[in-house]
């Protein structure tokens, strides 16, 4: 059974059609990379999957674990196990990372009809997750993303992901704005979270992230459609030749 099954997905932002018939299947444990030039619809795909307001689906279907994902609200999708690591993680002033994460974690537990986590237990859980990722949990004492460096923001996303244990993680341009050391650290974190159950959809413009997170499948997105699919070697080909061939002269 696929974890995610996207069929002929069309979506608009305002009046403009951005996704024009996407087909994509992801099996448990698989890591898929979606690559594409700017404006190809990569971020739109991630937002549509996560259920952001302002993106209207005009056709097609998305099944997630046999559920109609498009029927669910953003928070329900999250609680079902869809996690989006943001390209630009958002600041929440006055709310510490720990409070934020605990709220998120408890939302999931409530959604599943379970009791909320005890504060001490939760703290232990977070500490051990941070340790697994070789990260400090110090940033959780600060307000969420406020005054964080680019690297800290992305690391924080990965730490949240580790605690929330999603079934499908969508990484939206996680490499953007990172220097090579920060990129490695984040990639190591992501790799540590790869399991035979957890699927990942990595959205990226550049190939370099895929040097560190090796995908099972690579897809090229342009004009709101997947133009080509292949193995990890496709990413290298794109790196060498660029996206020009996918534009067909109609930029």
């Amino acid at each position: 059974m696929s974890i995610l099954s996207i069929e002929n997905l069309h979506a608009n932002v305002g009046e403009t059609e951005i996704l024009r018939g996407i087909n994509l299947k992801i099996e448990p444990g698989e890591v898929h990379a979606v690559m594409g030039p700017n404006g190809s619809g990569k971020s739109t795909l991630s937002y549509v999957l996560a259920g952001r307001d302002g993106y209207s689906v005009t056709g097609g279907s998305v099944e997630f674990k046999d559920k109609d994902l498009l029927e669910l609200e953003a928070d329900e999708r999250a609680n079902e196990g869809v996690f989006l690591a943001f390209q630009y993680p958002v600041e929440v002033p006055g709310v510490t990372g720990m409070t934020f994460l605990r709220e998120a974690y408890n939302s999931r537990l409530r959604y599943e009809g379970r009791d909320e986590a005890d504060a001490m237990e939760f703290l232990k859980l977070v500490r051990s997750k941070a340790k697994d990722l070789n990260m400090s949990d110090d940033m959780l004492k600060r307000p969420v993303n406020v005054g964080f460096s680019g690297g800290e923001k992305k690391r924080n996303e990965i730490l949240q992901m580790a605690v929330l244990e999603p079934k499908l993680a969508i990484l939206d341009e996680t490499d953007s704005g990172l220097d090579i050391d920060a990129l490695k650290l984040v990639a190591d974190g992501v790799n540590a979270l790869r399991t035979s159950e957890r699927s990942m959809l990595i959205i990226t413009h550049y190939q370099r992230l895929l040097d560190y997170i090796e995908p099972d499948h690579v897809h090229v997105l342009a004009h709101g459609q997947i133009q080509r699919s292949g193995g990890k070697e496709l990413a290298l080909e794109l790196e060498a030749n660029g996206y020009a061939e996918f534009f067909d002269g109609k930029v």
């Binding site: 928070d75 929440v92 002033p93 934020f100 974690y105």
Partner: protein, 485 residues
């Protein structure tokens, strides 16, 4: 809540159901006829067995009030109040204290349930609230009375204080808010029915939080309570005030006066969680909250700190202030004001610097949602003798949706060149990005708003006593329910 098991027991014995029906049938109630005149004032004074000086004071206030005009400078709009169409005195004929809480207004119980106050405390609060509603400001303190008295603390209703400690009351009442102060305070001076009185003796750090729950219940009855708190030299007290009101179709008037006096090296911390009924979506039936709160830092090194979380009322008009008279005295004002639907709040503070090296801090957080209007209005005044006075003011406004308004109106007057006055203001919105970020992590839209707003208010919330902070946090969530699509 700073309420113990004894209180719970005592409250269980209160006759809440009788009081409730008392209002409906009027059988158990003793109510003055509607309207305001000297006879009504004499009636109130006589009912309370007051000394002659107090009656005189009330009458003086009343005569002055007749010459005054209702202020209209605040950025609030409401239908004109017919002061002759109100009852100025309403009380149950006898306040025996037996029976169960089974018939407490379920709406009220629901409110507390919603606030997440545990059942035992819930019973308790309903009880306490009910007691206050009948203008017999029985507060939690009653149970601790023996213990407090032992330490020399006086904590009782102001009526009782007038009878038992007339010399202290006479010395301080009206000394911070004179009877002629402003329209509503003057009206209060003429007709105040009850309220709390606190006196902390020299050198005592009051070991428990003193708290009162105010509640308006009767229909067409204005509530005019008067609170007077005195911290003698070197004393410290933390006082909590909570307010709720039932739903009504008609707007109710609440015009309270609070006076604080801090002598040398004394400190008073006054915290309010105001949750008067805000009215329906159109503001119908909510409380008009026109309150005068003022503290005098009379002694050297004294300190008065106001913390308020304002979530209720249809219209709020309130400026807790500090008069920094003693050298090196400190005034603080921490405020969260939330307005949703058709609520209007015009609130802020006044810091009057008289003494040398006096310092004041103002942190105000205004949150508007729905069609609400929220105004911060503040005055910082440095008088000529206030050498080295300092003020820091920070006003932040948060908007939810695009039909609400936030306004900041700071007045700064400095008459001493050595003074330093700082003012910072920001206005922001809960962004769609923030909402999506929180929801993508599993929070419902309401939980997301509550989290973001609580974060926004953090600097103020941390000033609240722990038990109150939890309640206030939940209140913020509740009062913003339905504010996002």
């Amino acid at each position: 809540m700073s309420i113990d098991a004894n209180t719970a027991e005592q409250v269980k014995e209160l006759e809440v159901d009788k009081y409730k029906y008392g209002f409906v049938t009027d059988i158990e109630m003793e109510t003055a006829p509607k309207g305001l005149n000297e006879d009504i004032i004499r009636f109130i004074s006589a009912k309370k067995e007051e000394p002659y000086w107090l009656l005189e004071w009330r009458l003086k206030a009343y005569r002055h009030w007749l010459t005054m005009e209702e202020p209209d400078w605040a950025k609030v709009g409401y239908d004109k109040i017919d002061y002759q169409d109100l009852h100025y005195y309403a009380a149950p004929k006898n306040i025996d204290r037996p029976k169960s809480l089974d018939e407490v207004d379920p709406e009220l119980l629901k409110t507390y349930e919603k606030l997440g106050i545990p059942l035992k405390e819930q019973e308790l609060l309903s009880g306490v609230v009910a007691v206050d509603a009948v203008f017999d400001s029985v507060s939690v303190a009653t149970t601790y009375k023996a213990k407090l008295t032992e330490m020399g603390v006086i904590f009782c209703s102001i009526s009782e204080a007038v009878r038992e400690y007339p010399e202290i009351v006479e010395k301080y009442i009206g000394s911070v808010v004179p009877y002629s102060d402003n329209y509503f305070a003057t009206l209060n001076s003429a007709v105040f029915t009850d309220g709390s009185f606190v006196y902390i003796p020299k050198g005592l750090r009051c070991p428990m939080e003193l708290s009162t729950y105010f509640r308006i219940n009767a229909e067409n009855t204005g509530q005019f309570e008067r609170t007077l708190i005195i911290a003698d030299e070197g004393a410290y007290v933390s006082y909590l005030e909570g307010c709720t009101a039932p739903q009504r179709d008609e707007n109710q008037l609440h015009a309270a006066v609070v006076e604080l006096v801090a002598l040398d090296n004394a400190e008073i911390k006054y915290s309010t969680v105001q949750n008067w009924y805000p009215g329906d979506e159109n503001g119908k039936g909510g409380i008009y909250n026109f309150v005068t709160k003022r503290g005098a830092c009379r002694g050297e090194n004294s300190k008065i700190s106001w913390t308020q979380v304002e979530t209720g009322s249809a219209v709020t008009w309130k400026y807790p202030s500090c008069i920094l008279q003693g050298d090196n005295s400190i005034g603080e004002f921490y405020s969260v004001a939330i307005t949703n639907n058709a609520q209007q709040a015009d609130t802020g503070t006044k810091m009057i610097h008289l003494g040398k090296n006096t310092r004041s801090t103002v942190i105000s957080k205004g949150i508007s949602a729905g069609r609400a209007d929220n105004t911060y209005r503040g005055l910082v005044k440095i008088m000529p003798k206030a050498e080295g006075a300092r003020n820091f003011t920070q006003c932040d406004s948060l908007l939810i949706g695009n039909k609400c308004g936030a306004h900041t109106v700071p007045y700064i007057e400095s008459r001493n060149p050595s003074a330093r006055v700082e003012h910072e203001a920001t206005t922001s919105k809960i962004s769609e990005d923030q909402m999506f970020y929180c929801m993508q992590r599993g929070l419902s839209s309401e939980a997301a708003v509550s989290l973001i707003v609580n974060g926004f208010c953090k600097e103020v919330m941390k000033e609240l006593p722990m038990e109150f902070a939890v309640e206030a946090q939940k209140l913020i969530g509740i009062s913003l329910e339905g504010s996002v699509g």
